[in-house]
Symmetry: C2
Subunit: 251 residues, 2 copies
DNA sequence: TAGCTTTGTGTCAATTTTACACTATCCAAA
DNA sequence: TTTGGATAGTGTAAAATTGACACAAAGCTA
């Protein structure tokens, strides 16, 4: 593999962007980190949008997604997975979006293909803060989101679906929880991702059988009810599992 | 949704391409339709590549993939699914690939992000033929492919994986078979996609339970052994199934 | 100390999965 | 026409998994 073209300066590629669906879990429900575009577009359409940006010509797509994530949250080394590319020619040309683009893009009329990612961040590690491209960012429960800028709602749907599929195959949900968590929290997390109720006892049986939890000799404190045992995620077992994979479909 | 920018002429977008992993099944094994780039690059690297092309500015990604597929095979209305975007800055800058690009691209040095698709075509409906961007195209058994141009081998791996996952969730395999087929052929197809042997009786039981096959009162002819019953795919049941979905993971 | 809230636990029936081997049918070759 | 070769087609029993279901224990609060 040779690199024949050394890029001294890296420039924004006006035709390709990344957008991130940043999932969090407030121990109650699944949430997404959205940016508020402010008044400028509110007269015409949704204020909220997924964080995203054009890519630089010297970075690959994963790097670009990580950069966006880092700029917004200060987090890196985060679970990140590509959802796919979205490239409708008119995806950014709704009236309500054009105004905003004029204010942030050098070529607001350019056709932009976006590559969507989803990431899982432990909300406890992060509180929203201002960033270069977002004055305001906030966690919004997934179920309350009815519309978003551009085609971001469609992207969100795709990301949810991908997460749903993925969590059936790999125990990635732990990325959304604090280091120590209770089985009830994990249970609730699965319910909100799969978007259906799961029997408590059956869930516990099944998750325990995966053998990736370490039970700590420590209880919840300060809760007005029987305190729960805390658990930790067992990375070694996880690695082993991802090797083996856990297939579902019986064949 | 308003369209504010009418494009009279559509131009090639020099920064975004689509590549298609066109799967076929020769009733023995899974195959992929590859184009032969010919002598020009053979001195340096692989001659074979996935069919693909730059997108036009007035078409969306699915349309572009369909166009590539149509140009090469004359087939349209084919099962098609996005695999994802591949955007390493150096993905097309191997020495062995640059020569070829010079011969087919207006801007051979431009950075190109590609969006990969996989499609399933019934091989019986198609015999390779010349096309605008490929003098020669041919079916190659998946297992025999060791290297491809650009990052196409990586794309192929991703497409195989996606197909593997997908076939566990939806009965899409039928797209690879002729209209009438035998259970053994279907069996063999699943084995070659999942890349592992499946017990014959268990497979038959399971597939029958899906209830998407119609048994024809017709037998194979001219085979030097007990002829197999022929089956047909039942579209109505399939639609019903995709509604319900068939989940694997038990939760 | 009484009451509220959530945790944590077991069993049984039904279903699904896995492993496994022999006969039936057609063609081809002798 | 008989025989051999090849693949089709079929059932069962043991093991594992799933799904449905209810009540006592622990801590907090008033």
């Amino acid at each position: 593999m040779q690199h024949n073209q050394k890029k001294i300066n890296s420039e924004l590629n006006p035709n390709v962007s990344v957008d991130c669906v940043i999932f969090g879990f407030d121990l109650e429900q699944l949430t997404v980190l959205l940016i508020d575009r402010g008044e400028i577009s509110s007269a015409f359409g949704p204020r909220l949008a997924l964080p995203g940006n054009l890519i630089y010509d010297n970075e690959n797509l994963d790097m670009a997604a990580n950069r966006v994530l880092d700029e917004l949250t200060g987090l890196n080394n985060i679970y990140l997975e590509q959802v796919g590319a979205f490239g409708d020619p008119d995806r950014i040309h709704k009236e309500s979006d054009r105004e905003w683009l004029k204010s942030i893009r050098a070529e607001p009329e350019a056709r932009v293909i976006t590559v969507a990612y989803f990431t899982l961040v432990p909300m406890s590690n992060y509180k929203p803060q201002a960033s270069s491209f977002a004055k305001n960012a906030d966690w919004v429960p997934v179920n309350e989101i009815k519309e978003l800028a551009f085609d971001h709602f469609e992207i969100l749907q795709a990301a949810k679906e991908k997460l749903k599929q993925k969590i059936k195959i790999q125990p990635i949900g732990f990325n959304l929880l604090p280091e120590k968590f209770t089985l009830s929290q994990l249970h609730r997390l699965y319910e909100s991702i799969l978007d259906k109720p799961l029997d408590k006892r059956n869930f516990r049986r099944k998750i325990q059988k995966l053998d990736i939890l370490t039970s700590l000799r420590e209880k919840q404190r300060g809760v007005p009810h029987k305190p729960s045992l805390l658990y930790e995620f067992n990375e070694d077992k996880y690695q082993e599992l991802t090797q083996t994979g856990f297939d579902n479909f019986g064949f």
